[in-house]
Subunit: 235 residues, 2 copies
DNA sequence: TGAAAACTGTAATGTACGTTACATTATCCT
DNA sequence: AGGATAATGTAACGTACATTACAGTTTTCA
């Protein structure tokens, strides 16, 4: 039943009319799921929004979870498309990193992307496919591209990245800061473009200090801890 | 009705027996809510776990949301207690920051704290009280303490923080990296202590480069004038 | 000890929703 | 055009659950 069912589903939108319905339903599902969460979202509400009928919905997607996964699969790719191909060969590193940071913030501050993020983090434990799809569409390619980019700069001696992976993680973590958390939880409204830009600049500023060629390498530097009481555990 | 009801609720656990029930119910609620999410969690399941009866639950908490809020209020404080009073006056900055980072990672990797985090991020939009309580118990005091600490070090000239707020955000963001996201979504198991420690060291390493006194202060053109091509200011 | 109050267990109520069944209407192809 | 097929609208079914009602049981305390 399950296999046959899935075959039916894949073959179901052969006519152009049905393909349009399918897309309308996915759009409506995105709106309702992102706003209400999976459990709270009702299929009737989705159909009310999309037009068509419950019968058609079941014919196309088989179940609530089927519709959900179809929607997430499609939306993930669309929403995070700007992250998958950042313009890497560019001006000076600072300019390129600023561009990447802007792109990342653009996605992080997009209302629909925030809805997706909320679902991935909140319900990912219950739907393992959800974080799978999410990471494959967004963080994975972005990190890979940045690692390639910074690794090359490091080899050319333009910047200094002792551990490229950690450095990339630091960059992404710095972008995704308090500002984002308070926005995605609804504690504060989505900030204006200029505040976003200010944050981008701050992050790139700090990040440049991490990868600056002249920076003290990450050795333990006791030089600036003059007055310390006796040694303490460091294990 | 609402006011009278709340008064009743507050006055309801006067007997020691009832206070114990109340705690048992909060404990059970934490387990079930964190595992299932608010909508999915059923009050019967909670009562089955806590002992007592549905009647008592309603007498104590008034509603599902009442129980939820009571649970979150209590658990937030307990879970994030390690963050509110980090041992700031300490050895060298590096050692102190390492200690803070370990504390933060300890909370972030605690299964119950991850359940709480999932709810705050996933359902915070639907329950504004949730992020309110969360931020007040966790991030707010931690950030305040770190700002105080780093600000003082900066004035003493031990470290260099052009903008303490941003620097603190960077620190917290770096800690809360990919490792955390993949753990909290269930994509990977909670890492072993030594991997956590490795991450802590990496983060502190990179962070020390940000606040190192000798670092090139990345002053670039102030104001938000867009970057002109070819404007190299570093190398 | 015994009555009042507190507590518990079970069942009932109302509702919301996922899913399915079916009768009706629109669309397509020859 | 006209029959086969696709698509729709409506309603029914079963279930799960928050919430309430109530009758029975335990605890409290004078």
């Amino acid at each position: 039943m399950s296999i046959e069912n899935e075959a039916d589903i894949d073959a179901a939108d052969h006519t152009p009319r049905m393909a349009a319905r399918r897309q309308a339903m996915i759009d409506a599902a995105a709106a309702v799921f992102f706003e209400q969460g999976f459990e709270r979202a009702s299929l009737s509400a989705i159909v009310r929004r999309s037009g068509g009928s419950l019968s058609t919905l079941y014919q196309l997607f088989g179940s609530k979870e089927g519709l959900f996964e179809a929607m997430v699969t499609q939306r993930c790719a669309e929403i995070m498309e700007p992250l998958t191909a950042p313009h890497l060969p560019d001006q000076c590193p600072r300019e390129t990193l600023t561009r990447i940071a802007r792109g990342l913030m653009g996605v992080l501050m997009d209302p629909e992307a925030q809805g997706l993020w909320r679902m991935v983090m909140g319900e990912g434990i219950k739907f393992p496919r959800l974080p799978e799809i999410y990471f494959r569409c967004g963080p994975d390619p972005l990190q890979a591209a940045m690692i390639r980019y910074l690794g090359e700069l490091h080899e050319r001696g333009v910047v200094q990245c002792p551990d490229v992976g950690s450095v990339v993680n630091a960059f992404c973590g710095m972008i995704q800061s308090d500002l984002f958390y308070r926005t995605v939880t609804g504690m504060r409204p989505i900030p204006a473009a200029e505040e976003i830009e200010r944050h981008v600049q701050k992050v790139v500023d700090l990040f440049m200090r991490i990868i600056a060629v002249g920076a003290a390498s990450s050795e333990h530097v006791p030089g600036h801890a003059p007055h310390q009481k006796g040694g303490h555990q460091h294990q």
